[in-house]
Amino acid sequence: MKADEYEAVRKILDRRPTGSELAMYSVMWSEHCSYKSSKVHLRQFGEKTTDAMKEHLLVGIGENAGVVDIGQGWAVTFKVESHNHPSYVEPYQGAATGVGGIVRDIISMGARPVAVMDPLRFGALDHPDTHRVLPGIVAGIGGYGNCLGLPNIGGEVSFDPCYQGNPLVNALAVGTMRHEDIHLANARGNGNLVVLFGARTGGDGIGGASILASDTFTEGGPTKRPAVQVGDPFAEKVLIECCLDLFEANVVQGIQDLGAAGLSCAFSELASNGDGGMLVHLDRAPLRDSTLAPEEILMSESQERMMAVVTPEDLPGFLEITTRWDVEATVMGEVTETGRLIVLWHGETIVDVPPRSVAHDGPVYDRPYSRPEWLDARQADTPDHLPKPATDDELAALVKTMVATPNLASRNWITQQYDRYVQGNTAQAMPDDAGVLRVDEESGLGVAIATDCNQRFAALDPYTGAQLALAEAYRNVGVAGGRPLAVTDCLNFGSPEDPAVMWQFAEAVRGLADGCQQLGIPVTGGNVSLYNQTGSTAIHPTPVVGVLGVLDDVARRTPSGWRADGAQLFLLGT
C-alpha cells in the first residue's frame, strides 16, 4: 500500500488502522480488486449503454457476472476472467484455479454452470518457456473443468513471442437459470446470518499482499505459507450441486463467492451491497492451518469457498442441505444496521470500518497516457514489401507453410484433452467458430458464444483492434445462427504505469465501448489484467472479447465447414 493510500485509510477511520484493517484495505485496494487504474475508463461501458441496449439485461456490470434474458423465462450469465500470473508460476494449478474462480462467479448468480471456454496466449511454440507452461496450463484447464462436468465449448490459442514469460490464461464460464433464481451478492435484513461454507481456510494466496509480510506477523512467527494454490475440483463440484440445492430450497438471501481477497472481499462487498452493517466472529472460520493469524485469515484466497446470507428460520434447512453434500458450513455472524463492518477475534474487535470504504471507495487513478511515438513506425511497416507468390507452385508452397504454422495448425492436441460432451447439451464445440449449447430441452432454446482477439491488430491500433475483436466474436456468433445479445471482455495489458500501455488500454476500452454501441449490445462484465510484462516490455494489448447470442432452436445452428459435396461457395461482405 502506498503512503497516500495509507493516509486515506487513516482519514476514513480517523485513527491508526489495526493490522487486520490494514490487511483488508490493502488487498481490497489492490489493482486487482479495486480496478484503480482502469475504473475511469471502464465507466464508458456503462455510459455508452443506451436503454435500448439494456433491453435483455437482467443484471448489469457491478455484480459477480452479468445476466441476460434469453426468453421463455430463461436467463444466462457469463463472464471471462484472467489467471495469467499464477499460471506462469505453476501452470497446472494456476490454470485449474482460474477455471475454479470464474465458475464460482457463475454459481454466485444463482445459475447452474453449463460450459467453459479458454482463450489462451503463449510465447513462440519453440521457446522453452512455452514447453514448460503450455502442457501444464492445458492439463490444468482440462483437469479442473472436466472434473466439474463442464463441457469446454471453445476458446483460442495463439502464439507470439510477446507472451514469453507472460502467458495469458483467460477463462470464461457460462451458466443458466430461470429468471426467478437470480441471486445477488448483498447482505440485507437485520439479524440475518452470514454463513461461510465449502473448503477450509488455509494460508493460500497470502503472499500477494506483501506489505504485511514483515512487521505485523513477527510474534509467534507463523510459518511457511504456500507459494501457490492447489485446486480441489471435487470440492467445487460438490459446492456447485450444494448451491443449486440451496437455491432450489429458497434458503439463500444473498450469496458471494470467495475469490481474490477472500473473506475481506466477501464481508465488505456483501455488507456494502446490503444494509451496510455486519458483525462477524473471525475465530469461527474453520481452518486448515491452525497457526494462521487473523490478518492472514482475512486475506487468504483459499479456493472452493462461498458465503451466504440466510435468515435464522432458514438456517436448519440450509444446514440440512450442506450436510447432505458433506459441505462444512459455519455461521460467522450476522447482518446489522450499524453501518459498520465489525470483525471480532475471540471477542476482541479487530476491524471496525464502513464496509463501503473497503469495497467500493478505493483509490481511483487517472494515470497519464499518451500515444507512443513508435506506433507510427509500426503502422508504416506494412506487408507491401513482402514477396508475393508468383506461380501456382509458390502459392501452393505458401499455403502449405501457412497451414503448418502454430497459429493456424490444428488445435486438436489441446482440445482433445477437454470434455466437450458432458451434460449432453453441446450442439457445437471445437472446431466450430462458436460454441453452441442447448439451454431448454423442450424447446431447443440455446446460446452461442465466441471469444476472439487478434493481438496483432490491437498492437497496430488498439481502438480498431478492440473493435475487430468484438466484430469477429459477433460474426462468429452470427454465423453459428445466434442473435448476439451481450458482451464480456478480459482486458490483458502491460503496466498501467507506462503511459504508452495506458494509452493502449484507454483506446481499447473506448473502441470496445463505441463498437458495442454501434452493434447495440452491452458489456455485461469482465475483468482487467494489468502488469503483463517482462521488464519494460509489455505484451501486445490483448482485449479478449466474448459475445453471447441466442438461438430459438439449436437444431437450426450452422456448423462451419462444408458437409456435402457439390455445395456452392459464396463470399459475403466486402
Binding site: 472436466n146 462436468g149 471435487f234 449432453g424
Partner: protein
Amino acid sequence: MRIGVVTFPGSLDDRDALRAVRIAGGTPVPLWHGDEDIKNVDAVVLPGGFSYGDYLRCGAIARFAPVMRTVTKLAGPPTQTSPGLPVLGICNGFQVLTESHLLPGALVRNEKQQFVCRDQKLRIERTSTSWTNGYGRNDEIVIPLKNGEGGFIADEATLDALEGEGQIVARYLDGNPNGSRRDIAGISNVSGTVVGLMPHPEHATEALYGPENGGTDGLAFFTSALQGVLSA
C-alpha cells in the same frame, strides 16, 4: 422398466444417463449414493464422472458407498431365484465395478498420460448381455470417449479367460485411445448382466448432441435393457 442412475458426489454424467433412459422409453429413477434403498429398479446405471474426485484410485471410494452394498448384493452371480440385477457401469462406473470386483481387471492411467476426448469407433462383440442385446454381433458404432484413466489391464490369464468366455463386449477400432490391453473397451460378467464400458453411449442418444458421424449409436445400450431378456 425402471432404470436407476446412481449419483455419487462427483458424478458428472448422471443427468445424461437419466435422459438417455428416458429417450429409450424407460423410467429414469435417480438413486443417491448414501441410500441403500434402490427403489425397486429393474436395472442400474453407474454413470461417468469423478466420484470423490477419483483422488485415490478411480472408483475406489465410491465402491464403499451404501448404495453399492445393495447393488453388489443384487448384481452378484445369478442364483436359482434371481438372474442378477443388470448393471451398466460407464467410464467411472466401469471403474467402480472393477473396484467392487463385480468385474475383473482394473483401469489405469492412459498410456499417453493425458485425458482424451474423441469420437471413438467400437465393435460390439458380445450381444448376449442385458445391455447389448439390441445390437447385431460385430456391429460397428461411434460414441464419445472421454477419460484419463481408461486403460483396461488384467493379468494375461484373466485376459485369456475373458476372451475364452466371450466376456469382451466391445473393442476399440481405428486406434486404441488409452493403451487398453487387447483394445478392450468393455467387458461383462459371465452371465452378461453386468457390463462395464469406457466410452459413453449416453452421449450418443440424440442426433444433435453426439458424435458427428455417430448420431444415436449409443441408444441401443438403453433400449437393450428395456427388453429385459438375454437373447443368446
